[in-house]
């Protein structure tokens, strides 16, 4: 691949992404990073996929995405910060390893699928199967914070990490309607503020009250959420959390015999 000169001024590279294919755009972002940019601003993003994916082995970057990015934003992301000023699509943070993604809008299905590290903040709501098969190991503790609500199968097959649902919309509480919460869940924790019906929980999970440790975790991320999305202090969110955890580490062990 030929190296194209990318204008980098005081560490910032700014692109007009109009009419660029995903392949071309991501190539230029990589070139900018290679040439020493530490912040990259992408304007007129219109459906380009895999933003941030090709940046393995680069120093931590800040990427500002203005517009509507396509699927798999930050897939396999390894330690950068991506801020999206707009709505994100499906597969955001797919198998993400490290870093932070902040979405000033909503996001689609399978957000944070198989995510193993880093943090994702979504101001509004998200689609189906969010946090599916998230994992954790040692210091790698992925976290997903969602301002609004989600669709069905939240935390399906979840094996680790934390999902926090604030249940807020423009300063007021909204009603959750998602079903099959935590189907096949065998690790990790989901915190949900607002009412959920028991019949919408899967058989593999149970609901607990919060202890001090839980409050500390939630407070930390709610504060971050408030500062990222400029939630004004005098309009404090009315939050009332439930904690959802799996019943067993081996949800399907009894179904098999030799």
């Amino acid at each position: 691949m030929t190296l194209r000169i990318v204008p980098v001024k005081r560490g910032v590279a700014e692109f007009n992404a109009q009419n660029l294919l995903s392949f071309e755009l991501n190539g230029r972002v990589k070139e900018a990073a290679t040439q020493g940019a530490n912040k990259i601003v992408l304007n007129n993003i219109f459906g380009q996929r895999y933003i941030g994916t090709r940046l393995y082995h680069q120093d931590p970057l800040e990427i500002e995405v203005n517009g509507t990015p396509g699927n798999d934003l930050g897939a396999f992301l390894d330690g950068h910060r991506i801020v999206v000023n707009g709505n994100a699509q499906d597969g955001l943070g797919n198998t993400m390893n490290n870093g932070e993604i902040v979405v000033h809008g909503r996001a689609g299905d399978i957000l944070g699928m198989s995510m193993r590290g880093g943090e994702i903040f979504v101001r509004d709501s998200v689609g189906y199967r969010v946090g599916i098969h998230m994992k954790e190991y040692g210091e790698k503790q992925p976290v997903i914070i969602i301002g609004g609500t989600s669709q069905d199968f939240l935390g399906e097959y979840m094996a680790g990490g934390t999902i926090i649902l604030l249940g807020q919309h423009r300063g007021s509480n909204i009603t959750h309607k998602m079903r099959f919460i935590g189907t096949g869940m065998h690790g990790g924790t989901i915190y949900i503020s607002g009412n959920i019906k028991n019949c919408h929980l899967s058989e593999q999970v149970t609901v607990l009250n919060l202890d001090k440790k839980d409050h500390n975790i939630i407070d930390k991320y709610v504060r971050k959420y408030e500062s990222y999305f400029r939630v004004s202090k005098n309009k404090a969110m009315n939050l009332d959390f439930k904690k959802i955890i799996p019943v067993a580490k081996r949800p399907y062990g009894h179904l098999y015999s030799h």
Binding site: R49, Y50, F76, D78, N94, Y137, H186, R250, G253, Y256
Partner: protein, 499 residues
Amino acid sequence: MITHLLPEFLIERDHKRCIRCKVCLRQCGFDVHYYDSDDDQMLVREQDCVGCQRCAALCPTNALIIKPHPHAYKPNLNWSKDHIRDLTKQAETGSVLITGMGNDKGLPIYWDRLILNASQVTNPSIDPLREPMETRTFLGQKPDKIQVEDGMLKTTLAPQIMVESPILFSALSYGAISYQAIESLAKAATKFGTLFNTGEGGLPIPLRKYGENAIVQCASGRFGVDAEYLNSGVIVEIKIGQGAKPGIGGHLPGGKVTEQVSRTRMIPVGVDALSPAPQHDIYSIEDLSTLIHALKEATNYEKPISVKISAVHNSAAIASGVVRAGADIIALDGIRGGTGAAPKAIRDNVGIPIELALAAVDMRLRQEGIRNKASIIAAGGFRCSADVIKAITLGADAVYLGTAALVAIGCTLCQKCYTGICNWGICTTNPYLSKRINPNIASQRLVNLLQSWSLEIKEMMGGMGVNAIESLRGNRHHLRGVDLHDWELDLLGVRGAGR
């Protein structure tokens, strides 16, 4: 109520030969042998014997014979011993029966009904001992056409991976098999110049030095998958399906997830490693294309992306979609492919033989003019070099060996891989058992296997008057069928013998 299961094996001990050394007791992970100190003799619980022959192999005085138990119900051609045994177990437990290794049900093996050609009079055969024979194979997307200028290739080629012989090791994941077993495969692949496949268990850090000979898998569980892992091998393989269990995922039982396995898979110790049936970001060919390109992005377009599918009814149409989605390699796994654990009902009844799937896929891609866009790797029960060369002749670029490689390092196909106990040290993470494999010796055996099969392939190629495996690929003129129906000959694209 009594559950009565006939023992599968009879253990005959020659008490005159037995010196009570207790080797059998220590070698058996299933606790079949025990010592009776009152009578100073070794006794057995034969209902627990799996017939792996480990004790017999290590008995210093050859005092043991393990053979199928002659116990029988009233003969019944409809209700076999197996059927009664399985049904009884299910009546007791109410659960799905699990088994290991590949289908053992005696489905037609087309390799045995396909025969190879040889040169006589009208074209000379070649002696591989004195003339160069080319078995090198390049895996990856080939261009539609090439441009040469001043003797130099002007066309930019997609990434190509070279192997010395078209025989690779199939996906065997760490956690399912022992560290020593995967290290043996990695060492052998490196020494011989071929590839091993991590399966979906990740690649332990100490084994990343063998990365130049590794295919790293990205499966539905995404265990141990991060950018560093994806970039540690030379090919990334998306696992959609496996021949032994098409359409379903896998459960590595928590008991097998030891500290070291947990570190590689990046999940806590003792937690089940659940691989969902589908990849949840793939519900269509378009979605597959998305993941293929996400992986190309994550590896900077430097590595071929392979897509592994099980051989099923519409493999040809599916393969066409997979190629159009951007895969550089298609791995096709047939119904006789092995596994560490699968529901018996699925292993024995789902999928199609690799011979039919391979022939159908190769022909379909040729008809559509896209055969060059992807290499084909065939898998699923290759037993000898003749199977391999016939697969090449039916259109495969290379083959995957799983079961055959394990047999080379001691496996006796007892099919108990799912128990976590393997007396040969292969399919276990118990350190007492797994240390029975010495990777230096085991890897040499694997190299010997690759070498002998490659030599045999060269001999057969020479006999046909072909000196490069490239000329044999998909060259069905060198194959004939025996004892096959017209529809089978038609599907395989070969003529009946004598024609």
